[in-house]
């Protein structure tokens, strides 16, 4: 896996470098003492994994995550435990390492990132290779079985940590993938992200009340930032 290290402390960068040395699968492409230089680098080059310090003056680790255009796997490195909960808001964060980082804990995190990366690559391959010539369906890998889903059968997609739950008219499917990946596959004219954890098929909406949508039998929250886009999509009288 090609990786970069972002940490404002040289001490930490040297330590992470040394921890990487013991793992043949890792290749460090660059190190950065600030997140802005790392963003510039990632706008030019792709990497598989980022070791990211959260606490950096000015532009911190979470600012970096929000600016990212690509979605490499992220391993957070920090002296604080109090950001762990926030880390779960990001689909591409695979682990959270508290400094000083031990070799065992580091290795475990990298193996987790590798496993996830391999699995997503495999999911992507099966989805891409089996995409029909038509634009109205996709295939998803469910336990090694490629299942065809018509877009007009899909009610919603919900993020579930490292997985996504796809609810259709007849069945629900949990697959190992990310919201970002599925969003790229769904037609933008009928699907809309209404909340960071929900993408819905707008043609299936039954009603909308305050900050929620009734879709099928599901009540889905609508975040304030996505509400206006949802309202634009509706044929309002």
């Amino acid at each position: 896996m090609e990786c970069i290290i972002i940490d404002d402390e040289k001490t930490s960068r040297i330590i992470i470098n040394q921890l990487c040395e013991s793992l043949d699968s890792l290749e460090i492409k660059a190190e950065f003492s600030n997140a802005i230089d790392a963003i510039k680098y990632l706008n030019k080059y792709e990497v598989d994994l980022v070791f990211l310090d959260i606490h950096m003056p000015g532009f911190n680790g979470f600012d970096f995550l929000q600016t990212l255009k690509t979605s490499p796997k992220i391993i957070l490195t920090t002296s604080d435990t109090n950001y762990a909960l926030k880390a779960f808001e990001y689909d591409n964060i695979v682990d959270y390492l508290v400094k000083p980082i031990t070799q065992d804990r580091f290795t475990k995190a990298v193996l987790k990132a590798e496993a996830l990366s391999d699995s997503i690559k495999s999911d992507e391959l099966s989805v891409q290779s089996k995409l029909n010539s038509g634009d109205d369906e996709l295939f998803v890998n469910i336990n090694g079985r490629l299942v065809k889903l018509r877009f007009d059968e899909i009610i919603l997609v919900e993020a579930k940590g490292d997985y996504i739950l796809i609810k259709t008219d007849n069945e629900n499917f949990t697959i190992h993938s990310t919201m970002k990946k599925i969003e790229e596959k769904l037609p933008v004219n009928s699907f809309l992200k209404v909340h960071r954890s929900f993408v819905i098929n707008t043609s299936k909406i039954i009603d909308i009340e305050n900050n929620s949508v009734l879709i099928g039998k599901n009540v889905v929250p609508v975040s304030r930032s996505n509400r206006s886009e949802l309202m634009k999509r509706l044929n309002l009288l």
Binding site: D8, Q18, H55, P100
Partner: protein, 106 residues
């Protein structure tokens, strides 16, 4: 009872690689002394939020050098400083002095 700094973590990480150990210690020493100076200046100028940012960096070195209670105190001091409370300053200075003496001999 005062904790004593140690190189257990550094040595475990180096795994016998003396070149790496020496390089790491040299960087820790350089950053430690610079950060202590910056912390002292910020504190004198009552720039407590800036001081808290430096305490955060120092906290990592305090842990690396085996002062686990010291690291907890630094964490509390960092949070206090962000809220304008400097009551742990003198205790924190003792920790820094302890580290300074230890690192002077490295």
């Amino acid at each position: 009872m005062q904790e004593h700094p140690n190189l257990l973590y550094v040595k475990e990480l180096a795994n016998g690689d003396e070149v790496f150990e020496s390089k790491l210690l040299s960087v820790i020493k350089k950053e430690l002394f610079e950060e202590i100076e910056n912390y002292t200046n910020c504190f004198k100028n009552e720039q407590f939020v800036d001081a808290a940012i430096i305490v955060h960096k120092l906290r990592n070195k305090i842990s690396i050098l085996g002062l686990y209670k010291g690291s907890e105190i630094a964490k509390e001091h960092e949070n206090d400083l962000r809220n304008g409370n400097n009551s742990l300053h003198l205790v924190f200075l003792d920790i820094l002095e302890n580290l300074t003496q230890f690192m002077h001999n490295k």
